[in-house]
Structure formats: structure tokens, C-alpha cells
Symmetry: D2
Subunit: 342 residues, 4 copies
């Protein structure tokens, strides 16, 4: 079937390519004409303007928006709303906040336009591996779009089947789910990313402890000099903690065991934050997911104001002067020392 | 080659079975004669007593101890020390504390007895899947035992090879590692389990937020009624968070989506605790691994004393009286309310 | 000067009493006529209805709303807006969400009505001790209301003056602050409560560790049987951690060292949650404030779904069966044990 | 009475001064002869050597050791043991690990020498304010030393008495406690410091959120520019969160609202770490105390290895390249953006 794609970045462009490979026809648009031209050269119909793009789509139109979440996606959906008609469908495949979906869905419903939110996972590997999709919206339009989802999904592959799923929704084992009404898709994707942060931080902390197992502050007989790349690799095989994230880590460590090419600044996108907010709204304790988010926040600061407040208090009650450089793990500025004589 | 096994529980028994399947000869001992008889019926030589067991082993002897860590393992190694001779080897395959290994290794060295610590992962699946082994000790004795490790390890299977590992230690891709000197094996296994706790808690919190997405305290238009079993399954396919732990979760949820058969008490073994201690010793922040451990501690208490202290303070400054039952997510005992008139 | 008070619960009623003691005239209203009658008997003018209440106030009117935050306060302010006129002022002294203040302030400005948000701290002790007030709004109206704030504030008392504050805003040392524009008052109060949660949890955890210092799982020579009430008391005197919260704790423990009258359920009001949300919005790591909130969430549940997910995984990979009752701190269900013979 | 003091740093020297002010006679020793001379000039008897020091003490001797915990204190106690006799007493007033106390107490008991562990709180203010002392040891020797403790303690001062303490141990209200057998003093002091870390971090995080309330990433209408020094001061007066730590913070902020003179590196001494270890041993969840410790660990690193592992994973699954500089709170490196036309 036909799909229109707006936003031809890493994700949007590859989705178009995967759809074309599966025999779908695509119409594409991006503010960057070169991005449009590149995909036109691969077989997509290119829109010279948003109007031109919309005009090239058969009715009822199906337009997938793959733009950065927030104001950019919002503005684009506003524009599209003016150009589209009853029966058309807008699919937001980006990382939008699920409450924005609910608001937009309500507004579009008044124009008879369908809204579908798709949490799309798979990153740069999706074009080959397929995309795991978590979808929210009305059944009718999601059924209409099924050929698109079926082509984008990874399919069952050689992943072992879970016992006890006989007779259940067959789409799940293809790698996509109609998770609920509008907003449900991005809610589930949000939790997916929240978990992702937690898993990543768990591995990261474990490797950090291994990496620091030879510091001088430890007693000499308790120090170890581990080969972290080998440990990551061996855990992929028969342990309790294999995962795709571990595969990627083992791969990075095989190339560069010290990871010195990475600055240590770690960005976060909205999903980790919204996950914490959702936990707070539901009164669900979510220590690990929150700690994983806060570790990223901290990674992006030289020092927090909080730390200066701590030092000011220590100075206040104990006259403690902090060093300007990290002192290593034990306190140095201790009172005068009596060295016992022989 | 020949291996003696002490401790024929779930792990020890299956290790013996896997070794026999691979053509090794085994001698077994357990305080329970029935356990010995069962394995003898499968082809192992059974020891009627510890002395008898030791006597049945060819020199230099290789004895794998697979007992609960702590006093039981310690006592057994003390006994064995008296019965064994220079050149013999004791392999502690249980979950011992790595500093105990270092101490024991030193003591045994004085008798000329080798000590090898093996962190053995794989659980009930190991007999089929093979065991991931993290090994500490001297090179010579670990090389001597290689046929044993090679048979117990899972082998490369169909797990994709990591690019860039050409020319590196080939044992890693078989699923076992000589991690360092005595203690290194259990240290790495400890971190493995620490990470395991963190990963588990990350998934658990995510599913908890999904599960509580329909509570009444939320605005009606923001509630979702998710099919958690389907979500666990779909994440196995093309998402960023597939893992063996997710496979197991999907499997459990397919059988019982509410998991009502589980009490909610969650035990911990020593490794999660020692991981936190190691992080503290190294001054490595390990929020996620620690939070995962504390969540298990909390799961085993009706209420903490800490919580009562909180309520006592709230009573003290605000006259707040806590309900005897969980109040749901928002505070109820608020001051008198003026209902506005129509 | 004259103040109208709506909401005569613990806080509102006592504020009226403190104002009358300081010579102010008050007009009061509550949906409960008995509450109105009680304060009328103490000298306040009582409103028979909201209209009557508003009618009894001199213009420009100053009305303090002291109701539960959320829908109840919102509805009352909507009602009042209809009855009040340009130049009048509404003071929200409850625990409203600061973003609600900003929205309401904007709406009231169109009617020429002033809006002031006051975070009011002091609890049941405020009538004697005075109230710490964190105030947001326009300078002109806050200056107009100054006699009210000055009477409610605790005044300097015998609290030692901070060196270096000469020449700064004198109101601060009286115990009230004009923190910024509309919303600033409740924002600062929100952080106050967020910190309060963190402080409380720090003490609570410390006492919990003291309380559990004699459990059987510890080696006999490492157990202590502490008198927690005495310890709380001694820390009030010369240590680094004296505080009002510690005073209250020592007081509660002196009466009841086991705190057995408290169920262990701990409520939370909105401020702790909004503090976490603010930290997330600002990308400030706030582990302690968040952990304190989550501990309260957890206190209100028998078991979390997360815990059942953990057990399901443990069952999946290790065949571990959790006990139905808390097992104490160490794992019990270990493999068969060989008891060494003498 | 007479007390010998070893270690004349900030704490030891001031303890001697306070004792002399209260009419006690003191004998002092330090490896630095100048420190000895200084106190000799104030009236103490100075020891030229450790032998000389011990020789100047009346029997039974009472020697207070006030040295950095760990190897230095250990070595000194070993030396002293050789020079002292049955009936003498060694008081360790430093920050020793409580399990070291138990071990030492056992060893000294064989020589008939008493051992007393005193957790001494009060910092640089102790000389005026008095010291809160948490004491472990045998009743007889602690009774013998009571005149010393009574003089060092702050006494009741003007701190309000806790209702319900009539008839209880009167020493508590003087500010010192016989907490239990050897080790109990340092255990209680350890928890005191653990709580201290938690309280400090709670304030610090709260001020950090206030400080970042005006960052550009926030919507303009939601930003506040707070006067943090004023807020700290106002909270001292009538709020729920006054404390000595808040007094010190208000004082530091009055001098320097940005705290720019502090580097942001925050040291930790052993007690915070041992508190976490104790919580782990007792299976008590102590999230806040642990998070406070980990925040200090993190403050002393430019970047953790954990953070590089996170970035390596993000690169692996999403091709995400982290910036070299902190990106502010929201993700910047998003896919190509379609700018909607006017």
C-alpha cells in the first residue's frame, strides 16, 4: 500500500527504504530537498513542498510523521491538519509524549482525521532487523495500516516461541502490538526506554566496579586487573545476563577496551523523564529507573551546586577544606598524626 | 578426564551429568546417600564416605565442591584438606565470597594443594545450555582442568561472533574465562549477579508502571489497561531491550499474567550484597545495583521501623494520623472542605 | 487590618486565632456552620454563606483560602472570582501546585483581582510558634498584606542571627519571604517539603539500622541492643544532627520506644512529587529526595507487582521458590548440604 | 581528674583545653613537639616521648587517643599496650571502625587493660558548645571516667527537655550516652554520621533545584530567580526543617550566595561507608544514606567509566554521538528537522 513519510532522517529514511523493499509505494517530504532527492533516486515519489507531498497521496491518505518530538512535530501536525481531509490518517512514529497524543487525537477527531501513535524501536539496525512497534489508536485505522506495520516489523525470525501463547494475537510474534487507544503506543515505548536506561546503567555500574578493582586505595592482595572486554564477551554465553545491550557493549569493548573515545557526557531524551513522572503519578516506587536517569543528568555537569552546598556545610561544622582535585577514595585532611617510634 | 564432585544438588548433579555425557569419568559424594545412589545409577562412581570418595580418585585429584557458600563450604574444604595431598586441586564452584577464596588459597598453598574458584552461571538450564564459568587461580592447574571446563561450557552455539575478537583467547567464545588469580572468578561472578539484580529490577519497575496505568487515582482519560504478557512478548522482537531475562518474563506472563502465584517476597544471596560492598570499597557510585538489592530487602518486611519513625514525625509536626490501610496514592486526611454551592 | 478566611480546619482556624490575638479583625467562612460558629464565639465575624462572607469584607477585600489543594481550592477560587471586584486580593495559603498559581494569577489579573500564593509551614505548632511563610506575587499587594504576614510570622525569637545579613531584607529574620512572582511562594514551599521528606527518611533509616543491630542473622559478637530513645535524645545535644525533626522523634520515642502504635503506612502530599518533577524538568539529580518519596509509596503496598516479576524471573532461571513469609536476611533454599563428619 | 591525650590536632587539642577549663589535669603527647609545647604553655603537662608521657600519668592511667582512624590509631594502641599495665584504660575517641574496637577490646582484656570507644561529635565548635559523646565499654571503667565525660559534654543548656524522660539516665540530657559494650559507641557515632550525610544531601538537592529554577531549558513563564541565601535563612524560622546544618548553610550562603569558593569535590570518611555496610548486613533498605554516599563518590570524578559504557551502548544501538560538552537538559542531536512554512 501507499505511505507518505515526513522527516527523512536516520529513522524516517530507513523506514521508507524497508517499505519499498517490501513492495510498498512511498511519497516523501523533508525540509531538506537533498534528503528528498536521495530517496527519490531510490524509488520514492518526492514532494517539492508539503502541499505537493499531500497532493501526491491517494485518499484516504496515510502520513507518517518522523520528526523530533515536541514543538517540531506539533507544528508539522498543525500544518498537516489544514491540508488533510476526513478519513485521512496521521501516524506519529516519533518519540512524542503520550499526553500530547491524547490531546492531538481529540483535536483531529473533530476534523474526522485519524491519529495513530507508534513507538518505534530499533535504532540504526531497524532497516535490517525490523522495527518493534508499539501502536495506539482506533482499531479500524490500525487494521487499515496493517500491511505497513507487517512489513516494518521484524517478523518471528529465529527467536524461540514462548510456550503458552497459542491462540493469542498473532501480530505480537511479528513484533508489533496494538497496545490500546491513542497514547498507548507512546506510553509503552516510554516504558521501553525507561527500562532501557535501567538496564544500561546496571551493566555500566557493574563494569565500573570491575574497572576500578585495581585502584591503589585497595589492599594489594585484594586488587584485580580485569580484562573487561573478555568478561563482557563471556557473559554473552551461558550466563543469566545476555542481552542485545550486552552484545553491543562487548562489541564496543572489543574495539576499544578503555572506551576512551567517549567523553562521558550522556544525553537523555524525554522518555526516561516521562517514565519517572508516570511512576510518580501512579505512586509506584521506581528507584532503578530514576537512578539511571539521574546518573545521566549528573554526567553532564562538572559539579553540581548540591556538591558545593555539601562542602560549605563540612567547612561550617568541621573546618574541612576540600581538595581542588579528586582525592581518591579516602579522606586525606585528617588531624595531626603521631608516628609511633620504633 | 576424571572429576570428583561433592554436593549433588540441582547444580552439582547436573554438572556431573553434563560431564558424563561428554565422556568424562566422575566420582560423587553427598551427605545424602540417595543422591549418591541416583548418580551412581547414571554411571558415576559413588563415595560411601568422604574418605571413600577421596580414595576413589586418581592422583593428582580434582575435586569440585558445589555446596552452599559460607560455613558449609568452609567446613568441607577443611575436611578435604586433611585428606588430600600435594598436587591435588580443590575447585569451589559455588557462590563463595572472593575474599574467602584468597584466604583459603593461601592456606592450601602451604599444603601444596591447588585452589580454583569458579563462578558458575546457568541455573537449571545449564545442563542443556552449558554453564558460563568465571575462573580464578593459577594458570597451570586451570590448564590441567581445561577438558572439564570445555565440556561444561556452552560452546559458541549460534550466538553471533563479536567483530574484533580475532586472535584473542579462544576460551571466551566457548563461554569460560580465566579471569585472574585466586578470587577473580568469584569476583566476576559476584558482579554478574549484581548486574543481574539491577537488570531484573529495571524490568520489574517498568512492568509495575504498566500494570498500575489504570488506577483510579489517575484522570480517566489518562488510564490504560495494558496486556502485560503481550508487551513482554513484543519487546523480545526488534526492540532495544531483548534479553534472556525478558524471555523468561514473557514466558511467566504467558502462563499467568497477574503472577498471582508469587508471594512477592524476594530472596537475595550474598553476591548482590558483596557487589555493594565492593562498590563502596572502590568509591564507585552504584545506585542501580544498590537500589535493586534494597528493593529485595524491603520486599521481605511487612513494614520497616523507618516507616514508623516517619509516621511518628508526621504526627509530631502536623498531627497527621496515618490510615491502617494503604490510602491509595493521594493524601486523604486533609482539613475540612468547603463545597462551593451552585 | 481585616482578613477574610475560607476553610477553618486545623490550619485556617489557628491562623485566624493568631491574627485575632494580634489585634486583627477577621471574617470567616466554612462549609461547616459549626466551624464558623466556633470561631465567631472567639471573636471572628462569621459568614452564613459565601456571599454573606464576601459582603462582610471591606474593600479592597483580602481573602485567604486555606483548603485542600486541587479541585476544592480551584472550585472555591472560581466561586470567589464571581463575587469579588477589581482591587480585591485572593491569597492561596494551601499547598497548591505552583503552576496552578501561575495559571490562576493570569486569569484573575484580567478581572483586576490580585493573587498571592503563600506556602505556609508550621503545622499544629504554628499558632504558638508562628508560621514560616514563602510568598509569591506582586510587590504592591504583598506590601499591603504585610501586617497580616508580620503577625503570622514567628518573629526573630531567640534564634541566633546569621552573621553577614546586615542590611538585607528584614522580613526574612521575622520568618517570611517574598520569594518572587506568582508561583514562587508555593515553589519554595514545595522544595521545603521535598527536603523535609529527605531529612525524615535519613533519620528513619538511621534508626532502622540501630533497631536491627541485634538480629539473629548477625554474628553474636557483632550484635547490639540499643536504647533508641536515649540515642535520639543524646543526638539533640552537641552533635552535628540536631533539628526540630529530631526533637519530635526523641519526643515520640520517649513515649513509645517501639512506635508500635504506628501502622507503617506513610502518606505523601503533592509537594514531594512535584519536587521530583521539578528536578526532572531541570535535569538536576535528586536521588535522596526521590528515594524518600518512593519509600513512602512502597510503605502503602503489601507487595508490588515488581516484586512478583522478580520472583517469576528467579523461578524461571534458577527454579527458586520464594517463601510465603519473610525469610530473614539470608537465602535459605539452598542445594543439599554435606555435613562433614567428625 | 587526670587524663592523658595523644594526638593534639583540632579535636584532641580542644578537648584538652575544655578539660583544663573544667579543672582537670592533663598530660599530652603528639609526634609534633610544637603541638605539645603549645598546650604545655596553656597548662598541660607535656610528654617528650611516648614513654615519658606514660610515665607522667598516675595509675590507673587514663589515655585518650585522638588520631586518624585506621592504621595510625592501630599502631598507637599497639605501642601503648606495651607501656601500660593492668587497670589502665585506653579511650579511642576517634572515628574507628566498631569491629576494630571489638577486636582490640578482646586483645587488651588479656592484659587487664580497659578499652573504651567514644564517638565524639561536635567538630570545631565542640570546645565552646561541648561534645556529644557516644560511648561503648564496661560500666566500671565508664563510671570511673565520668568526670571527664561530664566536663566534655555540652550539658543541658537551654535545649527544651523532652517530655516523658523523667527518671531515665540523666547523662543523656547532659549530652553523653553509655550506648552498650565495646564497639557500641563507634557504632552509634557511625550511624550519626550516616544520617548526617543523608541530611546534608537532602538540603543540598533542594537548594540545587532552587538554583536551577531559572535555566533556559524551562519555559520562560516557569522560571524563577531565587535568592537562595534568603530562603535558607527564612527556613530557620518557623518551618519544619530547621537544624544546625541549615544554620551553617544559611551562614555560608550569607557570605557567598554562589558558593563559588568550593570546588565541588566532597570527601567522605569511613562512617558513611560503614553505615551502608551495616545496612547491607542487617538487610535494612537504606536508600537515602547510600545515595548520599554515592553522590560524594561521584563528586570526585570527572567522569565515571560507567558513563562511557552508556555512551558506547547508545552509539551501538542508535548511532548517537555524545557532545564533548554538557548539552544542557535536552537532547540536541536529533534527526533532520522540517521547519513548517508560514
Amino acid at each position: 500500500m501507499q505511505l507518505g513519510m515526513i522527516g527523512l532522517g536516520r529513522m524516517g529514511g530507513n523506514i521508507v527504504r524497508r517499505l519499498m523493499k517490501h513492495g510498498h509505494s512511498t511519497v516523501v517530504y523533508d525540509k531538506d530537498p537533498k534528503a528528498v532527492a536521495a530517496l527519490a533516486a531510490e524509488g520514492a515519489a518526492g514532494g517539492r513542498s508539503l502541499q505537493d507531498f499531500v497532493g501526491k497521496l491517494d485518499r484516504p491518505r496515510n502520513v507518517w510523521v518522523m520528526l523530533p518530538a515536541g514543538r517540531i512535530t506539533e507544528a508539522m501536525i498543525d500544518e498537516l491538519t489544514k491540508l488533510m481531509q476526513a478519513g485521512d490518517a496521521i501516524i506519529d512514529g516519533g518519540n512524542s509524549f503520550w499526553q500530547d497524543d491524547i490531546r492531538r487525537g481529540k483535536a483531529l477527531r473533530e476534523h474526522g482525521i485519524h491519529y495513530v501513535d507508534v513507538g518505534t524501536s530499533g535504532g540504526v539496525w531497524g532497516i535490517e532487523r525490523g522495527y518493534c512497534m508499539m501502536i495506539g489508536g482506533d482499531k479500524a485505522v490500525i487494521d487499515r495500516l496493517d500491511p505497513i506495520f507487517a512489513s516494518l516489523a521484524p517478523g518471528p525470525g529465529d527467536i524461540p516461541r514462548t510456550v503458552g501463547r497459542e491462540g493469542r494475537d498473532a501480530r505480537i510474534e511479528q513484533g508489533y502490538i496494538h497496545a490500546g487507544p491513542i497514547g498507548a503506543g507512546h506510553f509503552v515505548k516510554m516504558i521501553h526506554n525507561g527500562i532501557e536506561y535501567g538496564l544500561m546503567q546496571a551493566y555500566a555500574e557493574g563494569f565500573d566496579i570491575l574497572r576500578n578493582a585495581n585502584i591503589e586505595a585497595l589492599p594489594a592482595e585484594h586488587r584485580f586487573d580485569f580484562d573487561i572486554a573478555d568478561i563482557a564477551e563471556v557473559w554473552r554465553r551461558g550466563s543469566v545476563i545476555p542481552s542485545w545491550l550486552l552484545d553491543l557493549t562487548a562489541s564496543a569493548l572489543a574495539k576499544n577496551p578503555t572506551l576512551e573515545s567517549y567523553s562521558g557526557f550522556v544525553e537523555d531524551s524525554g522518555e526516561g523523564r516521562w517514565t519517572v513522572n508516570a511512576a510518580v503519578d501512579e505512586a509506584v516506587p521506581a528507584e532503578v529507573l530514576t537512578a539511571a536517569l539521574f546518573a545521566r543528568f549528573r554526567s553532564r555537569k562538572d559539579h553540581t551546586f548540591a556538591e558545593k552546598v555539601l562542602s560549605a556545610m563540612r567547612d561550617g561544622f568541621g573546618g574541612h577544606k576540600e581538595p581542588q582535585q579528586g582525592p581518591g577514595p579516602v579522606q586525606q585532611n585528617a588531624p595531626d598524626i603521631v608516628k609511633p617510634k620504633a
